[in-house]
Symmetry: C2
């Protein structure tokens, strides 16, 4: 079975062919410039691959409400060439196969649930901390969408005492993304995270903000596991720091089997950084099943 997968990112578009086991059989990457330049290359790639369905996991905000007149559109985005762009419509016209569509981070969540670190679970939170911060939630086996979709990178965090950084988010200053995403680390410390491994103050702040988000999710949607992915989380030494701070912040309020073992509760992504494109395969598989 050959399923097309498009992970539409703000800097590059990953196009791949996957199968029903999430195996990626072939993959290319196209720079994200303008739709006029980028989309023909994507269509060219998929055109002769005999795919049975296509999954698109896209940067956003996107409209994932199937009853909406703008379903399948990238809506408002700072990348103006892509604002109000009907990415699903364009691909459907070109390919004529069932198309599944969701946010990039919901794609990664699906990849982790189907083939990664959350297999067999029904209630899961996935947070990506990289160029931006985003989150996806699985509740009762279903991806949470709501009126739009989660935008949890923009949840406010409480400044850690001693931290005077104002935050990098143009909308909210010191929200989670404004304080903890890769560009915030670079802006605040003058270097990217992987060059700052030996500076404990970097990770003291970073782990606190991420722990705040994890605690917020525990108290709000009560996931059975929290997966932390994205470039910043390649710093695996963050995990024990985050787990310790989560325990401190919960302060014994909740007692569950899952929280009693934080090493298994707060975990790295489990798809070798392929959770996004594998999730797009899963979106395609689901679209095929729905017909």
């Amino acid at each position: 079975m050959k399923i097309g997968a498009l992970e539409a990112g703000g800097t590059k578009m990953v196009c791949a062919i996957g199968d029903e086991n999430g195996q990626i059989l072939d993959q290319i990457s196209v720079p994200t410039t303008t739709p006029d330049e980028t989309m023909p290359k994507i269509i060219e790639y998929f055109k002769d691959k005999n795919i049975e369905a296509l999954g698109i996991a896209s940067f956003g905000p996107v409209d994932v409400n199937k009853n909406s007149p703008t379903y399948g559109f990238i809506v408002k985005t700072p990348k103006l060439a892509w604002a109000n762009y009907n990415i699903v419509g364009v691909m459907r016209q070109a390919m004529n196969v069932p198309i599944g569509f969701d946010t990039d981070v919901n794609g990664s969540l699906l990849g982790e649930v189907t083939w990664g670190a959350a297999q067999g679970l029904t209630d899961v939170a996935y947070i990506t901390i990289g160029t931006g911060v985003g989150g996806g939630i699985l509740s009762g086996g279903k991806v949470v969408h709501g009126m739009l979709h989660p935008e949890m990178g923009h949840v406010k965090v409480i400044p850690v005492p001693g931290d005077t950084y104002a935050g990098k988010c143009p909308f909210h200053g010191n929200c989670l993304e404004g304080m903890a995403a890769g560009p915030a680390i670079r802006d605040r410390w003058g270097a990217p995270g992987h060059e700052l491994v030996d500076k404990p103050e970097v990770w003291y702040y970073e782990s606190d903000y991420i722990a705040q988000a994890v605690v917020m999710l525990i108290l709000t949607v009560s996931p059975q596991r929290v997966i932390l992915g994205g470039g910043v989380m390649h710093q695996l030494h963050l995990f024990p720091l985050i787990r310790r701070k989560v325990a401190e912040k919960l302060n014994g309020y909740l007692e569950t089997r899952e929280l009693a073992d934080l090493d298994s509760y707060i975990v790295p992504a489990g798809c070798n950084d392929d959770q996004g494109i594998m999730g797009a395969v899963k979106l395609g598989l689901d679209a095929l099943a729905e017909g």
Copy 2:
């Protein structure tokens, strides 16, 4: 059709008979003292009412996981006589009818979705601000449970500049409940909320903390509507304050049809304060349907 409904609260147990339209046909209230004293009175009430099913919406934390050996128990609670109490088991033995069970706030959420201010919606958040603060979430038409259930009263809030109150929560100090619940108002201002209507500083702080919780929910689970219930929200002048602060805090980041009309988006409960007991009726109806 006669459905039994038990709204199990920390100070009183409301017992009622309702029908398939959520009409409450009869109702009594029993003080919550100890199980030995309280439970026989509840059983006595329901015993000869010929109910076809029973719904229980309970204070907690409770175990609502049907696969758990302690399903139907009130688990850890400061009301020690009720800790690890099998309330569903005791009622099942006494009544021999299908029993539905959930938290008190999920009961209220269900009442509002079925017969109140959220009819027809699939993604809803309900927050109660009263003696405590709690929240329930409907996602894709299903109540969110996860590993336990939401405990969103304990989400941390950011102190409003100028607010020096340390918060009343024994676990978290200045969490939402610690800053905004009725006891926090009384502790901080020396009087209950309904005697403080003319003090704008009370509502300036109060509305900010509630708005923080609403914004957090919008960014996390993206509800189509947010319902605010509970005793504190009887102060209806809070609603315009909360709506204004939610708009300020979102700062134009999200554009949706729903958020364009905050008067319809952030609303009071719509069941005349009967959402809890009506939700318990719905829990009973659902248990009957499941058999």
